[in-house]
Amino acid sequence: MKNCKILLFAIPICWVLIFLFCWKSGTVIITWAQLKNTVFGEAASNQTNIILLHVRLPRLLLAALTGATLSLTGAVFQALLRNPLADPYILGVSGGSALGAVVAMGFGLHLLIIGFQIVPIFAICGALLTILFVYNFSRVGNYLPTQTMLLAGISLQAMLSALILFLQTLLEPLQLMQVFTWLMGNIPTPEYGNLLWIFLYVALAIGVILPQARHLNALTLGELDAQIVGIDVERLKKILFFACSLLTGSIVALTGLIGFVGIIIPHLLRFLIGPDHRRLLPACVIAGSIFMVVADTLARVLLSPTEIPVGVITALIGGPFFLFLLWKNKRKGMR
């Protein structure tokens, strides 16, 4: 009990501290005093204000939303499919939205409007079409066999990435470079208007997903067992698949393909706090968001003034760390 209460306060404080530190770091050197002045609206130089509030902050917030979304959807997909490797990529959802976005970018549609608006629409459509296809393809009557869905998702993902590669050969080098860097994963700097919209969207989806945690717990025992406990498994699957696809689609449209977050954060947290989804899902939101904030800050700072794609960072940190955890767990099992 005591432990629990301490954590309840310690975690948000840690979150805020890390966030502040990442806020402070960047190409331009900013002191803690300047940061304090800006936060409390005191007389800070206009330039620092702009850099902190209009360049770094929206990007950090978007990074946090991205991390939260990716790790949460990863955890949900893993529970739904009862497969430790499942995440939006395996199901083809990311591929679908990436294809939608590449189509929009490749045909110069992003030049028509501010570059922010039309790509997401295509990406969300891509994600939705993919999940609709995978879902209807693998459905037998009202029942959804998990294995078929996984396999359909994997083969669709392969087809989709081939299509993306095909489109890339049609593009001009400059466009190709933009699409390529986008595919590697980058956190853009959104407008506050857009950010608020994304935030509401993510919050809504999280609001739909989190209350299902109890049902997800039951689902880990197997679909039959879950049904016996009185859960409408098929309805649960439908709700969660569509909520997660929408969420992934909208985020992928903005950031491109950022790998590993959806696998590493849920697994790491399972090692730390156990597999109970009532704790795991909120923890994923918190840990995922701060992980992404740190990764994006590294992406901004390491090679400044240029940037590293954040997808590279997440894979380079995430991969070895994940292997280490697996190795440790294996040794524990041996003993």
């Binding site: 948000p12 960047g26 190409t27 360049v55 917030l61 893993q78 001009e172 880990t220 697994h267 704790r279």
Partner: protein, 343 residues
């Protein structure tokens, strides 16, 4: 695969029971906490969101290639150029001393060597641009991401986006920047200078028999320049025919078969790009195909990539360089044209 080994299954151990008493409260608290954190951060920033008012007086207005109007009360004194082409233009109109930052890979004029770099022209570093406090940021129409352009404009920075797709664009940009920066006289002189030399060289070689040229940018895949590229018109004006010139792309990728079939008389390479793209690195590959006339006769043309790939004022030098090598008999005259006037 054993799912339990990955810790996916919910197991009943005493610890989790211990937690579960408190779970509902925890869940709710976390959600509220999260919401509160975001809400606080969002409110903090919303206080600073109001845009500064712009007062109009004797404001000068200029329109750039994105149809955006830039307003200046005084002519700008601190300039950042996120486009190598614009950087070179500023050098030509003697305004390079106003530069406070340039993009990576900008090497000309030499005076900019020690200036801070603000990212590449396709991935500018917004933070650093703002920290240098510029009056004018010049970006490239072809390269700059629109989201970055819009971002800087939202922050009340004067961002000019300039297109430089052909020679007349370059002349237009020289005059435009000269007008904005109050260097009208220098700009007019430089533009006239470049234009007259360009035209002289072009008319000098126009009557000559035109060799069929193949510009080889890269090998894997073989990449050349098509109708949409600026280099295409440069080859034409230098008295050659670009054999990939009827392909409606900027940088078409070709197969070796099609290059052999088109049998170019001359091959053009750019040098100074480093690694696989230089002439000396490409030649071993091309020398395997003796049936290509250019290879058989060893007619290889080399142009400094800094001159040809920048689409800046120095393309006149690139034109001279190609024209001389395509038409060696006119080389002396071309050199005389280039020496006649300064620059």
């Amino acid at each position: 695969m054993n799912i339990a080994s990955f810790g996916l299954r919910v197991t009943r151990n005493p610890k989790s029971k211990f937690f579960s008493i408190n779970n509902k409260i925890m869940n709710q608290n976390y959600r509220t906490m999260l919401f509160l954190i975001f809400w606080i951060i969002l409110t903090v920033c919303s206080q600073h969101l109001q845009a500064e008012p712009v007062d109009s007086g004797k404001t000068k207005i200029f329109i750039d290639d994105t149809n955006f109007s830039l307003h200046f009360d005084n002519s700008p004194k601190r300039i950042i150029s996120v486009s190598p082409s614009a950087t070179e233009i500023l050098g030509v109109i003697e305004a390079d001393s106003m530069l406070v930052g340039v993009s990576l890979y900008s090497y000309y004029p030499p005076s900019i060597k020690d200036l801070p770099k603000v990212g590449s022209y396709v991935k500018p570093n917004i933070e650093q641009i703002i920290s240098l406090n510029p009056d004018l940021v010049v970006m490239s129409y072809e390269g700059a991401p629109r989201s970055d352009v819009n971002h800087l404009r939202r922050l009340n920075l004067n961002v000019a986006v300039l297109r430089s797709e052909n020679f007349s664009d370059i002349i237009k940009n020289i005059n435009w920047l000269g007008e904005v920066l109050g260097h009208k006289k220098e700009a007019k002189e430089a533009a006239g200078n470049l234009e007259s030399r360009y035209k002289q060289i072009r008319s000098l070689v126009q009557g000559m028999p035109k060799p069929r040229a193949f510009y080889s940018i890269a090998l894997n895949p073989i990449t050349s320049v098509g109708a949409k590229s600026f280099i295409n018109s440069l080859i034409y004006d230098a008295g050659g025919i670009n054999i990939a010139g009827d392909i409606d792309q900027a940088y078409p990728r070709l197969t070796i078969e099609s290059v052999i079939a088109m049998s170019p008389d001359v091959m053009i390479f750019s040098s100074g790009m480093g690694n696989a793209l230089d002439m000396e690195n490409q030649l071993p590959f091309w020398k395997r195909w003796k049936s290509i006339p250019a290879v058989r006769d060893q007619r290889f043309v080399e142009v400094d990539h800094d001159l040809i790939n920048r689409s800046g004022p120095r393309v006149v030098q690139a034109l001279a360089s190609i024209a001389q090598q395509l038409h060696p008999e006119k080389a002396e005259e071309i050199q005389r044209i280039m020496k006649n006037e300064k620059l």
